[in-house]
Amino acid sequence: MSMAPTTKSDGFFAHIFYVLRGNPITALAFILLAFFIVCALFGPLIVPYDPLASNTSNALKPPSSDHWFGTDNLGRDVFSRVIVATRLDLLISVSAVALSFVIGSILGSIAGYWGGWLDAILNRLLDTIMAFPLFVLAMGIVAALGNTIENIVYATALINIPFYARLVRAEVNIRRDAGFALAAKLAGNSDLRVLAVHIFPNALPPMMVQISLNLGWAILNAAGLSFIGLGVRPPTPEWGIMVAEGANFVISGEWWLALFPGLWLMLAVFTFNLLGDGLRDIVDPRKRT
């Protein structure tokens, strides 16, 4: 019996390895993810210049061996700013997704397990949130609550809650009367314990896919908000705001100001999207669309 867990996890890793071999793109996504995590953790330590130090005598220089991504209108090093921004952008999206994961899971579990009028009310509430074009709702929330990074996190979290709540609700609902849940109940476990320990963990695999896809989406959302001037403010390095600042110079030919932060932003979102796809293959190969 003691061997059983080891065999199972071996099988699991063997399965991941098997999927990755058949799917080199997912393997690439894992490598990119590792790269972004390193940038987020050690970014400020490894960049060659201070991301906020301006040097007007060296402004608007195209990419060179000294400044890989060139310098901006204040002479700041674009490469350093792009790398340092990783931490803030990932932090916003990770905390927003974590918030919506927790709140969505709680709401979805309650609605799925107890059903009835709680379920009906929750469904209508979620429908209401989903009825708004989500970016527009986020815009409105940040404008109403005030222009801070925390409010970007709250707005992004709120618009993502319905996806988690629906998913958990469906997963919990189909297992509410399953044999193993009833057995756990008969063994004397409380409703809450059956729900949290026996039923909820079954919803985690599909949730992982959702989390990965949402992380990319949250980054886009936060960058989009900064781009229109809501949320992160200059001179803080952030990809969306750097693209917005660089946009003014594109029409006069200084392309590197907007291109590199934009590319990095795209690459980060691309990584999470590919990862979500790949996780879907690992978790449930039938659902691939």
Partner: protein, 341 residues
């Protein structure tokens, strides 16, 4: 037959609380916006009394529930209030700007479909093959592109470097005369009066922003096409058609694609309403005079009647569109039900 009516009326009944919720949320949201509209309306030389007077005239001195009831009444008469920044009724502003956004969105969806549907079909014919992977990477890259960044990139390449695109400012270069408003769609209006020079000018302005949006919307359409094609290709009627010796193109396009179109059209409806809201950023980049840029201008000026009108109009459009799609779907395919599952 009665089952079908029951299904449809159930679906409509579900939409009503959502519509009410949308109105409540947009009411609360805009009352929470910073800035006091009474101070704004009273003007620069306002005194305490004149501000109080304006507040009373606007009904802002009443309690929130009272204000909400008044707001509901205005709403039923189609009155969304006055915009501070343009001085016009919000309803008129939105109606005037909506065609610009619609033209952009429809053009984007047209471009998007003409690329994404063939890609999806191609990927579905050989799942797991190299071209399936390539399709997946292309559409994933498309949906990963921040629209504001794609827009800027396209401007740089086609306007600055190649010089083949017109300056990215608005719907029509100033050398052309705006066609008389019939539908508000420049392409249709110009074609109606036979002014092909203006038509071409409007098209040139439209291509870049539409392409930007199209890249972003390709992914859901291509994925849905692929999935629907896969399930259609593995169904019994395709097997029968193959056994009967029909040509593979006849099976692919005549049978499978035809049956796969229904879910694709549903997705298209959702993508449409989602794009109409999401083109806020594209409109800003291209100075496109649609409702998205209107909303941004209003937000910057804390023009709350305008923000409210925009958010509400978008949400109601979204709810009604989804309702229409679901009902149309249930008329086409009676197996669909909307009961709480």
């Amino acid at each position: 037959m009665s089952g079908r009516y029951k299904t449809i009326s159930l679906r409509i009944a579900q939409a009503i609380p959502v519509l009410f919720g949308v109105v409540v949320v947009s009411f609360i949201l805009t009352r929470a916006l910073p800035g006091d509209p009474a101070v704004y309306f009273a003007g620069a030389s306002a005194t305490e009394e004149s501000i109080a007077q304006v507040r009373e005239a606007l009904g802002l001195d009443k309690s929130l529930p009272e204000q909400f009831v008044i707001y509901l009444g205005d709403l039923l008469r189609g009155d969304l209030g006055q915009s501070i920044s343009t001085g016009q009724a919000v309803t008129d502003d939105l109606a005037r700007r909506l065609p610009a956004s619609l033209e952009l969105t429809l053009m984007a969806l047209f471009i998007s479909c003409s690329i994404a549907v063939p890609l999806g079909v191609m990927a579905a014919t050989k799942p797991g093959s190299l071209r399936d992977h390539i399709c997946r990477v292309i559409v994933t890259a498309g949906v990963s592109l921040p629209t504001f960044f794609t827009g800027i990139l396209l401007i740089y390449i086609f306007y600055y470097l190649l010089g083949i695109a017109p300056s990215p400012l608005g719907r029509l270069d100033f050398i052309y005369i705006e066609p008389d408003t019939v539908t508000g769609f420049y392409l249709i209006d110009a074609a109606l009066i036979g002014d092909w020079e203006t038509w071409f000018g409007a098209l040139k302005q439209l291509i870049l922003p539409a392409t930007t949006l199209a890249l972003f919307t390709m992914a859901p359409i291509a994925r849905m096409t692929r999935a629907a094609m896969l399930s259609a290709l593995s169904s019994d009627f395709v097997r029968t058609a193959r056994a009967a010796g029909l040509s593979s193109s006849k099976i692919l396009y005549g049978y499978a694609l035809h049956n796969a179109m229904l879910p694709v059209i549903t997705t298209l409806g959702m993508v449409f309403s989602f794009t109409l809201g999401a083109n806020v950023l594209v409109e800003k980049v291209f100075a496109w005079p649609g409702i998205g840029s209107y909303a941004i201008e209003a937000l910057v000026a804390s023009d709350y009647a305008a923000v409210q009108g925009f958010v509400l109009a978008m949400a109601i459009l979204f709810v009604l569109l989804n309702l229409t799609i679901d009902i149309a779907y249930s008329l086409i395919d009676p197996r669909i039900g909307f009961e709480e599952r």
